[in-house]
């Protein structure tokens, strides 16, 4: 995870930064690499945001090879939408969990159970398919959904 940050006792003193340039050169970095020590950065790089290319050039012609599929998600009442990578999810449950976290609400979809007395706490999740129709999420197999979905909408009950 890289170096742990030091305690804050002398952070704001500009002279605290007493690194000497010989300190790190004395370490045998190649040994460290071979032993897999300390150089690595813990979280594996995020596929969707690497390599650094503008979307247009990256996605051209190779959507089947691309490992991302971003769709827009709007919540009723909020003009600014979000974007979500559907391919980063493995199932409807995964997707619902992300959406519930992202929008701080309870989501109704084809397989949800709802407390009918408190419908105001719920939002319905629908998607726009290739024909422009708005359908409830969850009726068709996940892969079929991925091939049909164009954008998502979260509406009040």
């Amino acid at each position: 995870m890289g170096r742990p940050t030091s305690s804050s006792s002398s952070i704001d003193s500009p002279n605290h930064f007493a690194f000497s340039s010989t300190a790190s050169s004395q370490r045998d970095l190649t040994t460290d690499l071979r032993l897999g020590l300390s150089i690595s950065i813990a979280p594996p790089f995020v596929r969707e945001q690497w390599p650094p290319m503008k979307a247009a050039v990256a996605e051209e012609e190779h959507e089947c090879n691309s490992s991302t599929f971003y769709v827009k998600v709007y919540m009723e009442g909020i003009p600014i939408g979000r974007k979500l990578d559907l391919l980063a999810h493995e199932s409807y449950y995964d997707l619902i969990r992300t959406l519930e976290h992202m929008f701080h609400t309870n989501i109704i979809w084809a397989e949800a159970e709802m407390d009918r007395d408190h419908y105001e706490k719920y939002h319905v999740l629908t998607y726009e398919d290739k024909e422009g129709d708005w359908m409830m999420v969850g009726d068709v197999p996940w892969e079929m959904f991925l091939s049909a979905v164009r954008r998502l909408k979260i509406s009040k009950c």
Partner: protein
């Protein structure tokens, strides 16, 4: 005696002298000489450039420069191009348009980069500026063709409408018909980003036919090949042309039509487009190739032999954008045919594939560096690199000003020696003394940053990913790179120490971006409190940073100097570390 000399030039004379000074840097320098020069300069500045729209408020700009005609604004950080900046982050242009609408009815030019532009903003532009001439939107989003219709309908003197790399909500292609039949002043039109669903060909044809001063026309993918001939027939004066989709059933009449009309375009210097290109139709452009200085084939999925044939016809090429289908062999031909080449960009055709699909290696870049004496700007994606190659490149091409190398797999070592690429990039910064922009990749330790801090004295922009071992790396860069303006870093083990030790440096730069690094929330707060002229913003979609321990690293950090104070339009996932706002968190 001195005082008499200073007042011996009337203001008009100074103003006349200043009118020859166009560059912002020079104008800024002029304004710092003395108070009277500051005053004279601010009244006659006609073009204003704001590199970070949050560094200053619209009202401040208007107050200082009462008579400008042209404004350029930039919004989101560069890493927004790679989806690292969440939607809703900011960069809204509307407040600027609203302020200028009242103060500058004579505004003529607006150039925006990475900003959110709504239809409302476009409608306000159309309504407010009677002599509006130039609208360039680069990598912008938030508007639809409705907004474009408003511009088309109202801006009678519009000369330039350029929507390069924008994300536009394509509601209707009929916005083009909103240009009145009496409108003829178009000189440059770039709609290459518009969606593939529709295009209004007849409106486009009529527009091109009546705008006889049209010099630049970049079409979108929806325009089919057989329509291009009809459009080009009316615009033989074009200097820059972007095709639509470059494929069709191979029919001799379509081919000869196209070839005929292209060969009558005697002024053509730049070509682009070429979506879905099939090789059979490429020879149609051979007649214009000898005059071409710029060729953008980044959408052309044709293989090396066809690319080689094409490139061999273009001896005057100065700028080439191409996919890695060109391969090392194609780049060798480029090196021997195109001695005027100044800029080369090679994009990966299959960036996510595990195995290389083409034979493009470091050898291609070496060949071009050795063969093209004027080469100064490179963006190169490849899968392997060696220190030896980089040293050869640096030694043979010390005139590089922009060097961006992306080895696709992060932390890839020198494939010959398995060592880090520190020495190779070290050679680049040592030999290329005028280097202004550098992007690093591959396996890199703190050592490469030591080289950069020592040698890269003219470096203005540095992009770093998956590199370095410790804060020492960041410290080398911040303490050594005297000309540094923009630094963007992702996934590096850089933390609090280097940042806090070099806090003052940050005020001399435009901005610093750090994501997936090791900077703690505590350090961010400290920096925000100690440096009132810096806006320190934490971007974290996990929730408020104070809901985690203080020494927990923040997800993303964006620091920029500003005289406007913290901004007011932050979305819920952005927190400012400004002293006053800091109280809100606890």
């Amino acid at each position: 005696m001195h005082k008499k000399m200073a007042f011996s030039f009337p203001d008009e004379v100074l103003e006349h002298v200043f009118s020859f000074i166009q560059s912002d840097k020079d104008r800024n320098a002029v304004s710092m000489v003395c108070k009277s020069w500051y005053e004279i300069e601010r009244w006659c500045r006609r073009k204003v450039f704001v590199g970070n729209c949050y560094a200053v408020s619209p009202r401040m700009v208007i107050r200082r420069f009462p008579e400008f005609r042209s404004i350029e604004l930039k919004g989101k950080p560069h890493f927004a191009d790679f989806n690292l900046v969440p939607d809703g982050w900011g960069g809204y242009v509307f407040p600027w348009i609203a302020e200028m609408a009242g103060a500058y009815p004579w505004l003529e030019e607006i150039r925006l980069k990475r900003m959110v532009v709504t239809d409302e903003s476009l409608e306000l532009i159309a309504k407010s500026f009677k002599n509006f001439k130039v609208l360039v939107l680069s990598s912008c989003e938030g508007f639809s063709t409705d907004g474009l219709a408003a511009i088309a309908a109202s801006c009678k003197n519009l000369k330039e409408l350029d929507l390069r790399d924008c994300e536009v909500d394509d509601l209707s292609a009929h916005w083009l018909s909103h240009f009145p039949e009496t409108y003829t002043s178009l000189v440059s039109l770039n709609i290459s980003c518009l969606g593939s669903d529709e295009a209004s060909f007849s409106a486009l044809e009529r527009l091109v036919r009546r705008c006889t001063n049209l010099k630049t026309l970049r079409l979108n993918r929806a325009v089919p090949l057989d329509k291009i001939a009809n459009i080009l027939r009316h615009a033989p004066q074009l200097v820059e042309f972007g095709t639509g989709t470059y494929t069709a059933d191979v029919r001799p009449d379509v081919y000869s039509d196209l070839a005929g009309v292209l060969s009558s375009c005697k002024e053509l210097k730049s070509l682009s487009g070429f979506w879905d290109v099939i090789p059979d139709y490429l020879p149609a452009i051979y007649p214009v190739c000898s005059k071409l200085t710029s060729l953008n084939l980044s959408y052309a999925t044709i293989q090396s032999p066809d690319l080689i044939k094409l490139v061999s016809h273009c001896p005057n090429l100065q700028r080439l954008l191409v996919l890695d289908y060109i391969e090392d062999s194609g780049l060798e031909v480029l090196a021997s045919s195109c001695k005027d080449l100044q800029e080369l960009r090679v994009f990966p055709s299959d960036p996510f594939g595990a195995e290389p699909n083409v034979s493009l290696t470091e050898q291609g870049l070496v060949a071009v560096s050795l063969g093209c004496p004027k080469l100064q700007s490179v963006l190169y994606f490849c899968r392997r690199m060696s220190n030896e190659a980089l040293v050869t490149i640096a030694r043979s091409r010390p005139n590089f000003t922009r060097f961006r190398l992306c080895i696709i797999e992060p932390k890839t070592a020198d494939y010959l020696t398995l060592e880090p690429l520190d020495v190779g990039f070290g050679a680049i910064v040592q030999y290329c003394k005028d280097l202004r922009r550098l992007s690093l990749s591959g396996l890199l330790t703190d050592r490469v940053f030591e080289y950069i801090g020592t040698y890269a004295k003219k470096l203005e922009m540095l992009s770093v990913a998956f590199a370095g071992d410790s804060d020492l790396g960041l410290h080398h860069v911040l303490s050594g790179c005297e000309s540094l303006r923009k630094l963007e870093i992702r996934d590096c083990p850089f933390g609090d120490k280097a940042l806090l030790a070099n806090a003052a440096k940050l005020e001399t730069m435009r901005s610093l971006w750090m994501s997936s690094c090791a900077v703690s929330f505590a350090a961010c707060k400290l920096l925000g409190q100690k440096m009132p002229r810096l806006n320190v913003e934490v971007i974290d979609e996990r929730g408020p940073p104070d809901s985690r321990p203080e020494n927990c690293p923040v997800d993303k950090l964006y620091i920029y100097r500003s005289i406007a104070g913290p901004r007011f339009d932050m979305p819920p996932f952005v927190w400012t570390m400004d002293e006053d706002s800091g109280l809100r968190l606890s």
